[in-house]
């Protein structure tokens, strides 16, 4: 049973750490984009497009962590083995 508790802890901590870094990264990107728009409002269209692409790139890091967390929680490849070991 301890295996499943550790799996949940791993998923939770992993998601937290992943979103921490992603949050800082996206914050920095948006900070610079807002500064750019404030200095030159005419370039806002181009800045928005580039920022979106950059944000999507940064965001995919958190998405990878999310996918791994979902695999740990719902599609864990070791679940059957552990249940077999527990039943013995």
């Amino acid at each position: 049973m301890e295996f499943f508790a550790w799996a949940m802890i791993a998923a939770g901590i992993g998601m937290g750490l992943g979103s921490l870094g992603t949050g800082i990264g996206q914050g920095l990107a948006i900070q610079k984009a807002v500064e750019g728009v404030a200095r030159n409002p005419g370039a806002s269209g181009k800045i928005l497009t580039t920022m979106m692409i950059g944000l999507a790139m940064i965001e995919s890091l958190a998405i990878y962590v999310f996918v791994v967390a979902m695999i740990i929680l719902f599609a864990n490849p070791f679940t059957e083995e552990v249940i077999k070991l527990l039943a013995r």
Partner: protein, 224 residues
Amino acid sequence: MTHPFLFLQWLEEKLHLHLGEHVLYTWFVMLVLIVLALVASRGLKMVPTGLQNFMESIISGITNLIEETMGHKGMTYFPLIATIAFFILVSNLIALIPGFMPPTANLNTNAALALTVFAMTHIVGFKGHGVGYLKHFMGPIWWLAPLIFVIEIVGHLARPLSLSLRLFGNMYGHEVVLMIFFALVPLFLPIPMMLMGVLIAFIQTFVFTLLAMIYIAGALEEAH
């Protein structure tokens, strides 16, 4: 798991078919798009009204985006890009109707889309440059070419992975969050998350389409 009731899944069980529910919803989205296209293009007028006006504004928006990111040569790939954009947008948006799931919340659909873009990129590259397309992978300095080649191959293989996982993670994550909120407080609390879902649907469509455009434009340009 994330859906208490899916309309087409229920229909599938009644009819004793054995298809995935994402396949059924993909067909549903295709049906919606085909009917929409037929209705909008029937009785075309010089001064568009109603549905034709709406569709024309979307099409001209995509055209402008292609002109901006890919240049004049990019219009050849308009059908592919626009189809991907429409398909992803409608699939993302039907997630907001109860009893429907977005086919993009399944990795298989997204992998199919991303692999299409991946194959298209390299077909376009080899068609446009011949064997010289390999220069794209070699980098500027000849004695570094073996190293750069390996890195570039890994980079190109990571593209379909990141494209498909990004869309899948966003849509599936939204479904999971919505379901958890629905289980906690079924009244009113899921509404802000659903509004955020509309935003996510549009942004993810934009990102996927724009990245597809950038990849194809990268294969089109000359190696330096």
